[in-house]
């Protein structure tokens, strides 16, 4: 059984490879490369998998999951400029793909105290664009 918890954070970012020229960045990222950055209301949907506990009827304590999302994702990223204030986006471009992968990495080891396992991270950059990451995306 899957259960999904949603959270939001608002942040600014700029998509640039620092070693590239302005023209090369514009070619690849378009307006997302605008020097001073721009922002989004990001929405994350975190899906965990597991069986309901026979006593409590719960797959995971949703309050605990909410606290994990708040501590690991929302607090560090909300109202921040990702490139300047949130690792590893000083080194890798904070594209929706990389933010989703980073959220997966931050959450991966947080559920070990619960019977549930992380199944999928979905990150909405806008209502019209989202990225999904699952454990299989890390297999070589």
């Amino acid at each position: 059984m899957f259960i999904t918890r949603k959270a939001e954070f608002s942040a600014s970012h700029v998509c640039r490879v620092p070693s590239w020229s302005d023209a090369a960045n514009r070619e690849v990222y378009g307006e997302a490369a605008n020097e001073h950055g721009h922002g989004h209301n990001y929405i994350i949907e975190v899906t965990v998998a597991g069986d309901p506990d026979p006593v409590t009827g719960m797959v995971v304590d949703l309050k605990q999951l909410k606290e994990i999302l708040e501590r690991e994702i929302v607090q560090p990223m909300d109202h921040r400029f990702l490139n300047y204030e949130v690792e590893p986006f000083d080194r890798v471009p904070p594209t929706a793909e990389n933010i989703a992968l980073e959220i997966w990495s931050r959450l991966r080891n947080q559920l070990t105290s619960t019977p549930a396992r992380l199944h999928r991270v979905r990150l909405y950059e806008t209502a019209d664009l989202f990225v999904d990451v699952t454990g299989e995306d890390f297999d070589t």
């Binding site: 690849v28 929706a96 664009l129 890390f138």
Partner: protein, 162 residues
């Protein structure tokens, strides 16, 4: 590392659900309001999902602007503000249910995909077509479609002759 990127688009079009294989009263019974002779329209939403390697330098699975151009050229510009039954040759003998629209869009995108995005490149893995807020259809590309009875069948076109 890999990721799946989904982009959402919209187009408005009209259609009528009717098959000459059935009588007028049977058509009315099967398709209800959707059989209205003059047709009717929807604001369709289309989601296109691509899965692939996240480029280690750019952090991108694909160029979203390239995907936008491709989907506009192949699909949106053909459907937008059209009567699907009358204006799209694919639906001359095919009932434009959302199921069939999803299958047709999947086929059109699949046919042009490799030429547009290269090999190895991001893969088209799914589309979703939403007819109204209350009904939508998923098509998994590159995998057999699972039916309600769990029998696994290949996607196929429902063809009606007149």
């Amino acid at each position: 590392m890999r990721a799946a990127l989904t982009r959402r688009y919209q187009f408005s079009a009209s259609h009528r659900l009717h098959t000459p294989a059935l009588s007028n009263s049977e058509n009315e019974r099967v398709f209800g309001k959707c059989n209205n002779p003059y047709g009717h329209g929807h604001n369709y939403q289309l989601e296109v999902t691509a899965h692939g390697t996240v480029d280690p330098e750019t952090g991108l699975v694909l160029d979203v602007r390239q995907l936008d151009r491709f989907v506009s050229d192949q699909v949106l510009n053909r459907f937008a503000n059209r009567n699907i039954n009358m204006d799209l040759p694919e639906f001359r003998h095919l009932i434009p249910t959302t199921e069939n629209i999803a299958i047709m869009i999947g086929k059109v995108l699949e046919d042009g995909w490799t030429a547009e995005f290269g090999v190895p490149g991001p893969k088209l893995v799914g589309i979703h077509v939403q007819e109204t807020d209350r009904n939508g259809f998923d098509l998994v590309i590159g995998a057999p479609v699972s039916r309600r009875n769990d029998a696994v069948v290949e996607p196929s076109f429902v063809s009606v002759t007149d």
